[in-house]
Subunit: 344 residues, 3 copies
């Protein structure tokens, strides 16, 4: 997967043997002459991508892998070979080696700090208004009649559509934003999320190579955070309305016409369908799938996939009826005990 | 209800017939010559206000309505007429028609982006200190010895009392703030809240015509959000102390001498009395009334009105004693089952 | 305890008799000629410190107190004398008297608002990059190759190590920050926390005399808040990774190699050991001790100390196994009741 060149400097192609040598790994399978271009997760890597395998657990239920180069520990060479991985490099800490090799292929563009806060390289359409103290990076494109509030910071390469409103002191980077999008003050979009991999060298943070994409007519509340993807994109669908102080983690996909109330939280790689309502402070853990038109109660903690049209609530969340029935049962149980203790 | 002219441009009076025609509605009752001045919720609209009725459900328990003009669907004409509404306009989507008509009566004042960050039109009393990069809009008034931190943004028309402290990068709009108020960095006050009305045209956002009022000696923590009212005001009473990362939604009223710990959330149109303590992450859903001196436990989710002086906790919240009794009952039940399974 | 002179102006020494007189207290024990230098909590005050005693409850389990001067109500004179307090001043509202007396010893340095946003007094090492609109206070020191984003505000006296990254619009004050620290946009560090003491004069806010210290290689997510200590320091240990929208209250100590997921909250004076994982939205109330390598589930509310290596979850939190067993018991109970009601 080739990272978006608006946000990343790409050094492709790089020769496989050079990559492996530069990170002190050992080529256990494949040709050192192969050329590599991008980075990807193990399951979606193509022959032009480097990737890594954390443990043999991740290979369950996989029948084929097309990665161009995979970093792994010695015990994983044979299973990966049999799944079709083109080249395999062995090392003590696959994540660390991958991160280092990836930085030779792809690097985030730094925001250049010019003397002028608005880069002369930015393309601002007719009718764009920019508040005092706003900062616009190199290569930014802003569509007509968009208003960028005072103190807002738009990072290198961002695309913002027409008739958008970017609130004061919002900070936006690594983002492609549609038309008529309303982003409120203090929102932060496009930062790398927090992904931790345990390695022999201790905790390693997962490097991010992706971006954020916001479809048309989306609303993002004040002081909401939307992290960019590790690979690919974090996506918010058309007309979805997000309230204040919401957190959307890396690689989340949210469909169109959803409503996320204040303090809602969606953890990494979770996917929401269309027309979903999340109550205030509702939380969904990582790698969950939520079907269309689902309603999640205020304060619920969702730890399982939910099918289309269902209503869930509770901690942890369960179907609403079950939750209510359990509440009543518990209430009666406690009342009965109370009666006994009172000698009735 | 006439919106505050500090924050809104008022085009009143507007002739009823022109309003109805401009939004392609059909006058079903009343005189086209009546003059209108403001906007209001159905229940509080006067003869000078336009309003809308979402559904016949909202008419239950209402014996009289004084609105000057009400937008509604065809089936509601007769019930509204019998409640005394002066004029009625029929249309497919009453909310959309109301929003459009309202914009002909009332429009939020835009922040003008001058070359200078501090408007020459702002009135700054003696001893006011303004940090580098702060942005002060037209018509702003700031009382003596108030300090406005670096990067703070004060929107058009805001009133800030004396001896206040506005933190760095705070964003304040549509707000009237008392004396000795302490607002911490990154707080966002006065944005339109998230109100959604389902219509035949899909989700519609509720337009906001109100403001925020903060009484004397209030403290607002870092990165806290307080949304302005749809109509009228969101209000925080004297001496109330609000911690970091709290959310106060539109049309909330909070009495004096309350304490809201970090992450507390108060949903739309909820009313809190005096001397209330909300623990960390306590949440109250919308349209709830909380009596004086109530204490709400950390993490509780309040879904019902609570009478004065009570202590509630739990998810959903219930009286503390009941919550504790239920916890003990559940613990014993599980322990008993565990013993059985262990053959005891 | 002498407050850090980087952040506070110290007027020490001050003669005891002058302090007591200035706040209209009455010296009930000790010599008016003693010299005082700092402020501290009752339990950690030395002979050079002033302090206060709220109520006789706080004296339980204390066998000796070394304070130089303690403000208290008349009934506490004898118990404090017998514990060894050097001098005792009696007054109606000990907290108010202490706050006033403390301000004669120690005062926070105000940020001076120069015409230039970057103080000429700041010491910036080689390779430091500062974004447009950033504001750097007097006496700030920044290590080599550190990047400070656009609009970031670094308050008077802060120390920032080398190779750090401070995100756009972050606000940092009263903080000592190590090397390779990564602070994301909109984070707010070093504000006074919310501490309330009830007095006869109503609620009084606790004045803060401490600072924040962040060790090397820490990551602080976007829009996270870390409050400074009342006395001493709020501390984040090496390599600890904090996600977005986390709240760390005053006087918290967090050990090395911890992970705090989004919305995690740690209340005042709570201490976390090393290698702790807090799930998303996990909350710990105040004055709790969490042992090394503890894991706390998403959304849990911790109200008790937890020993090293344990796994807890739930509301309120309990050992994970117990929590799961209770969930199963409740589910079965409700299902059984449901069957009965259905005539089965």
């Amino acid at each position: 997967m080739v990272s978006d060149p608006r946000f990343y400097q790409l050094h492709a192609p790089v020769i496989l043997g050079e990559l492996v040598g530069a990170v002190n790994a050992k080529l256990a399978h494949g040709s050192p002459d192969h050329q590599l271009e991008g980075v990807a997760a193990l399951g979606s890597a193509t022959r032009a991508d480097i990737t890594f395998a954390r443990s043999s657990k991740v290979l369950k239920e996989i029948s084929q892998l097309d990665a161009g180069l995979c970093f792994c520990s010695p015990d994983m060479v044979e299973p990966l070979k049999s799944l079709g991985v083109l080249a395999i490099a062995v090392c003590d800490c696959p994540v660390a080696a991958f991160n280092m090799a990836a930085s030779l292929l792809v690097q985030p563009r730094q925001n250049n700090f010019h003397d002028e806060a608005i880069s002369s390289d930015a393309i601002l359409a007719e009718g764009v208004l920019i508040g005092p103290g706003a900062c616009i990076g190199d290569g930014v494109q802003v569509g007509k009649n968009t208003i960028i509030g005072p103190g807002a910071v738009i990072g290198t390469g961002c695309i913002i559509g027409h008739h958008c409103h970017i609130g004061a002191n919002a900070v936006i980077g690594f983002s492609i934003i549609g038309d008529r999008v309303d982003i409120r003050p203090g929102a932060v979009l496009g930062e790398a999320g927090l992904g931790i991999v345990m390695s022999e060298q201790g905790m390693l943070e997962v490097t991010h190579f992706g971006h954020v994409r916001i479809a048309d007519d989306v609303r993002v509340g004040s002081i909401t955070t939307i992290d960019r993807a590790v690979f690919g994109e974090t996506f918010i669908g058309e007309r979805t309305k997000i309230d204040n102080q919401v957190q959307v983690a890396h690689n989340v996909t949210i469909g169109s016409d959803c409503v996320l109330a204040a303090f809602a939280g969606v953890s990494g790689s979770t996917t929401l369908g269309k027309g979903i309502m999340m109550g205030g402070r509702a939380t969904i853990i990582d790698h969950i799938r939520i079907g269309d038109e689902v309603r999640i109660g205020a304060g619920a903690l969702v730890t399982k996939d939910i099918g289309a049209g269902e209503i869930w609530s509770g901690y942890p969340a369960r179907p609403l009826r079950q939750f209510l029935r359990e509440q009543v049962s518990l209430e009666k149980l406690a009342a009965a005990k109370g009666n006994k203790q009172n000698g009735k």
